[in-house]
């Protein structure tokens, strides 16, 4: 079945440094749809950004990601970390062709901790 790998469980950064959270995926279907969800402490998880277009950069709230189907990757990046970026980040995958494959498969999550 589908799988999503977020190899870092915890990323600790100093404020102002660049952020890169890794996400790779496996699917037998060609129509992958990738998502990043963010879960701040004491809030509900919410969508940060999503993409199904190969090699197109998607941006939202200072974060960006590019879906690379050749390497099955959708890494989340930001040029400069802020204290308020500290949260749990989930990468997720679904198949674009519909049916039962449309359900989301989440990675294990990466906790980002930004320190001053």
């Amino acid at each position: 079945g589908d799988s999503v790998t977020q190899k870092e469980g915890l990323v600790t950064l100093t404020e102002g440094l660049p952020v890169m959270l890794n996400c790779t995926y496996q699917t037998i279907y060609s129509n992958a749809f990738l998502f990043w969800y963010v879960h701040y402490l004491n809030e509900s998880p919410r969508l940060l950004l999503k993409s199904s277009t190969d090699n197109k950069r998607t941006e939202h709230q200072g974060f960006h990601a590019t879906l690379h189907k050749s390497s099955s990757s959708f890494h989340l990046q930001k040029s400069s970390a802020q204290l308020s970026d500290s949260a749990l980040y989930y990468c997720a995958l679904s198949d674009h062709s519909g049916g039962s494959n449309a359900k989301l498969t989440f990675g294990k999550g990466t906790k980002l901790s930004v320190k001053s």
């Binding site: 469980g9 749809f33 004491n42 809030e43 519909g98 359900k103 989301l104 990675g107």
Partner: protein
């Protein structure tokens, strides 16, 4: 805008007890979900309901039942709570079933079993 309300926020149960978690949404969304969140394990799908009279098992359905009472509400029952179990259960909804649809989450129910 809309909101997803989960009750209770905290649930403490005894081993073997049947426990029910409730979820209400006012988005008028067709599809609703129950996920379990465990540290280091991500979000795992327990049950989902594509439309009002539908019920589908997810990857983690064993030990749980679900009920879609009406379009706006979706309940989850832990059929027999396991000793020392601790997890957060997240309810979510989306406008319809489909890969491109955004999930909107509730704040969660935190379960502890003594």
């Amino acid at each position: 805008g809309g909101i997803i309300t989960q009750t209770p926020k905290f649930l403490i149960g005894q081993e073997g007890q049947k426990l029910t978690l409730k979820c209400q949404q006012n988005f008028n969304h067709d599809t609703m979900y129950w996920y379990r969140q465990d540290s280091g394990k991500g979000l795992r799908l327990i049950y989902y309901s594509i439309t009002e009279n539908d019920l589908q098992k997810g990857d983690l359905s064993e030990g749980y039942d679900a009920s879609r009472e009406k379009k706006s509400s979706f309940s989850l029952t832990v059929t027999s709570a396991q000793k020392n179990e601790m997890a957060v259960f997240l309810c979510a909804s989306s406008i319809a079933w489909g890969s491109q649809n955004t999930l909107y989450f509730g704040a969660g129910t935190r379960l502890s079993v003594l």
